[in-house]
Symmetry: C2
Subunit: 211 residues, 2 copies
């Protein structure tokens, strides 16, 4: 096993798949799917999304200074793909993908997508021109999570969301939990308990295989 | 199903898990694991990594202006976790995790990690102070991929790398391919062929379940 040189490129994998929703003063809401997105700061909580200048959403986000990042579950992957390849100039993607815009906390224009497992409402702090893409730095001002993703004790269980990731041109389902932050230095009893808690959400995935 | 407000935070999931390797003029190489990383531009290819000021690697990356992002497969998840919680001030993480530093193309100081499926060698273009984290914008100047990840035709098959993702405190294995960029608007015969190609790498995962 040894390294082979590959043309320098955007090989980092996996990366998130997000459906970014935005709107304008008198413009219908739009969705663009992005994989060039990531968390960049814990406090204040911030993320970046990168959008090509020529995309319709670029204009909407620039004009309003806000956007909503919606997380993508595997049953939404067809809609997410369509929202990445089609333009909001040509079609109403909420309509063609049978998705519903709903109010996002803290946003004046940008809606959240009702069918997504969760959303992060962001205010644009800066825009940096990098080349093909402009990088929007957003401060996360509100978060909404589906009530169905909380357990009986009110604890969020994001494993239930059955999220998907982008990996060098392919969309992949997230599989089983294989650890948690700090597990390598955990006491054995803590490790057992935490892993048992994390493994629970694997159940819904089985249903899919039986479809 | 409806949204419940959650404290604004770094909820975006999944995000990558990367082992960042770096070194200094006369300093042993170090590794720090990060989830605050993402692709931000296709051309020139660029990514960001965010590091807390107090981390040992912050100093090394700042001083040398370079770092290597190594992708993480699920068998490396224990090492990756340790490199996220331990400090390079206290231990030689290459030694404690039984990892091997190897030359990374285009880098003067920062090595790649021989055991990782692939690496992206980056030169720092800017550093932005955001709060708890400083965001390093890196231009990807070289990429190395393990020779074992190419098929007989010389085509890269990143599904074979069995990568892992970070998801709200948990590490999760990447599972089956559920689509590819553009699949929602593909002709049926193209869809069938592409999905068949993508599903092939699922085989190695089965071996793991039989362990």
């Amino acid at each position: 096993m040894s390294f082979v040189a590959f043309p320098p490129g955007t090989m980092l994998s996996p990366v998130p798949i997000v459906m970014l929703s935005c709107a304008g003063e008198s413009v219908r809401p739009n969705i663009i799917t992005l994989a060039w997105a990531g968390t960049v700061c814990s406090q204040p909580p911030m993320l970046t999304v990168s959008i090509r200048k020529e995309r319709y959403s670029h204009k909407l986000v620039t004009e309003t200074g806000e956007f909503v990042v919606n997380m993508v579950s595997r049953d939404l992957i067809g809609a997410a793909d369509r929202c990445g390849v089609k333009s909001g100039r040509d079609e109403d993607k909420f309509a063609t993908c049978a998705l519903t815009p709903v109010r996002a906390d803290g946003m004046r224009y940008a809606p959240a997508i009702a069918q997504c497992p969760g959303y992060l409402a962001c205010r644009v702090k800066s825009v940096t021109e990098l080349g093909t893409h402009d990088m929007f730095l957003g401060e996360i001002v509100a978060v909404g999570i589906q009530d169905t993703l909380f357990d009986a004790q009110g604890k969020l269980d994001l494993g239930k969301a059955r999220l998907a990731a982008y990996c060098h041109g392919a969309y992949r389902a997230l599989g089983e939990a294989i650890g948690y932050f700090g597990f390598s230095v955990s006491a054995p009893d803590v490790y057992k308990r935490r892993m048992r808690e994390l493994k629970t959400p694997a159940a819904p995935a089985k249903k899919e295989h039986g479809r």
